[in-house]
């Protein structure tokens, strides 16, 4: 007599999420077109403009200011590119369809990409922090570092949402170009490359439209540089932008299904 025991589902959710996240990270790390600019550009720019050619103009501390803003510039990339390009490619090549057909828990796809983007953000923060301390001569109060880390790591979220939305709109080939057109001008217009105070007045006026501006203000606040607006206000605006782009991305994903 065979006792037929109902097999209990022995699918381990932590294992699924761990593998998804790990593979998402490996996938991007092994893609030189993503990993090299993402991990190399922020420290390279920092070395050039904050260490080697730092202007010595009065009370502007290039080494501290640019630590905050290149950090923001750096963590925008894994959000925008990590989501935008890879979602566009996954959609186009059918990998997303296969994953939806497989018994993958529905949240695992986005959660793994999110974890990957946050991990990249933490890596970028660490590289910049090491260079800032060793070569940039930056000395900050001990509480400033964890604050900046939190701003950088959670600051990827609105850019993940924007990247996801773009990834649902454009093809895999067009995605890098489209995202660069968002990424680079927005970085400049948000005062990430040079302080807004030295830019034309109109740039300062439209800056609050860009999520990178608000994240930049939070990062500057963390390192004790002068900022405008309240931290809570910046957080609220970033959260709202995240929700709006997630909403539209979700709608696009459901339509294309």
């Amino acid at each position: 007599m065979n006792a037929i025991v109902q097999a209990l589902p022995r699918v381990s959710l932590p294992r699924i999420y761990t593998l998804e996240g790990k593979h998402e990270f490996l996938r991007l790390l092994r893609a030189p077109s993503f990993a090299v600019p993402t991990l190399l550009f922020p420290p390279m720019f920092y070395l050039l403009f904050a260490v080697l050619f730092a202007g010595r103009s009065g009370d502007f501390h290039a080494n501290i200011y640019l630590l905050a803003t290149y950090g923001v510039f750096g963590v925008m990339a894994p959000g925008l590119f990590g989501f935008g390009v890879s979602v566009a490619l996954d959609r186009e090549r059918g990998w997303l369809t296969l994953k939806r057909a497989l018994p993958m828990p529905p949240g695992a796809y986005l959660a793994s990409k999110l974890a990957m983007a946050m991990l990249f953000a933490a890596v970028i923060f660490t590289i910049l922090a090491i260079i800032a301390i060793t070569l940039g001569g930056v000395r900050l109060p001990a509480s400033a570092w964890p604050q900046l880390l939190v701003v950088d790591v959670f600051g990827v979220l609105p850019f993940c949402a924007i990247g996801l939305f773009v990834g649902t709109l454009v093809s895999g080939q067009a995605a890098p170009a489209v995202i660069n057109l968002i990424y680079l001008p927005m970085s400049f217009l948000s005062g990430l490359w040079m302080p807004l105070t030295v830019l034309p007045g109109v740039v300062r006026e439209i800056a609050p439209w860009w999520p990178a501006f608000h994240l930049g203000q939070l990062a500057l606040g963390a390192v004790g540089e002068p900022t405008t607006g309240s931290a809570l206000g910046h957080v609220a605006i970033l959260a709202a932008m995240t929700v709006v782009f997630l909403f539209f991305a979700r709608r696009r994903l459901q339509r294309s299904a």
Binding site: A7, R10, R15, E20, E92, R93, T97, A101, L102
Partner: protein
């Protein structure tokens, strides 16, 4: 009609699906019974992939009902009984085969071991290599390994042998046969009718969004009265083509090939008129001819 059908793995009941102004499926009933290999055939755009997508929960029908193991295909529990190989599945180029396999195995409650998958799909030597570095045939074998790794009770194979050479195709056929022998049901779509002919227990033909034929390969072939006569003869093709029973004739060297609905009459006549006729063969239409005739009737 809505009974869970004890022997059914996957069912469509009176399903309609529209994309914009195009009706992809227009009242389709289909069931995949456990342990059988069902080949779903049809010309391009007939709705094969749409039907498969509905059964996998990739989209929802506008009307009718879809059941996978008696449940909605949206439930993970139902989909854990399923393995999938899609026609265009561009897996991430930068991941290694072993990583892809580990990831897919993690979705299932009782997966095959990585070694078993690799042995069945013939990818043992590929596990450490990046997916993007593999040849087209190797990539298809990896996709097959991912499809079977969860010990599925039902396997969806959408054009699985496209781009495979003869040897690889034979190997995949052998794997499919042994899976079916072990009790796994398969829903296969294919453009290669000889594939359906050699593997399928049952064939369903989709045309213009409807099931226009459903039966065993023999039953489908028998729907076509056409037969093909081959022989070596000195008779002029023009003479033969004038006979009322002959539908078409073509000549290849000294060989004639005649298509007719009444082979007996034509053969009698041939033997009467050419006493030295040799190498006579009569063959019933294959699935390919049957398929063309059925889809033309429906058009």
């Amino acid at each position: 009609m809505f009974g869970a059908g004890s022997g059914s793995c996957a069912e469509l009941f009176a399903v309609r699906k529209r994309f914009g102004t195009i009706t992809a499926l227009d009242g389709v009933d289909l069931d995949v019974r456990s342990g059988e290999l069902l080949a779903l055939l049809g010309p391009n755009g007939a709705g094969k992939s749409t039907a498969m997508g509905l059964l996998l929960g990739l989209s929802d029908p506008d009307a009718g009902e879809v059941r996978l193991f008696g449940q909605s295909p949206h439930t993970l529990e139902a989909r854990r009984g399923v393995g999938v190989m899609l026609q265009s599945a561009g897996l991430p180029d930068t991941l290694k085969v072993g990583e892809l396999l580990a990831q897919t195995r993690s979705y299932y409650s009782e997966p095959l071991s990585a070694a078993e998958c690799a042995a069945t799909a013939g990818i043992g030597d590929l596990l450490g290599r990046r997916y993007g570095k593999l040849s087209g045939g190797q990539q298809r074998r990896v996709q097959f390994a991912l499809a079977i790794c969860g010990r599925p009770r039902l396997l969806f194979l959408d054009e699985p042998t496209v781009g495979l050479d003869v040897e690889a195709r034979q190997a995949l056929w052998a794997s499919m046969r042994s899976l079916v022998a072990s009790g796994c049901a398969v829903l296969l779509t294919t453009h290669y009718l000889e594939e359906a002919e050699s593997l399928a227990d049952r064939v369903a033909v989709l045309g213009r969004g409807r099931i226009i034929a459903d039966g065993s390969v023999r039953e489908i072939r028998a729907r076509v009265a056409q037969r093909r006569i081959r022989c070596v003869s000195t008779l002029a093709p023009e003479t033969i083509s004038a006979w009322p029973e002959v539908r078409s004739i073509c000549r290849d060297g000294d060989r004639l090939e005649i298509v007719t609905n009444s082979a007996e009459t034509v053969v009698r006549q041939l033997l009467w008129e050419d006493k030295r006729l040799s190498e006579l063969e009569v063959e019933r239409a294959g699935l390919a001819e049957a398929f063309i005739e059925i889809t033309q009737e429906a058009a």
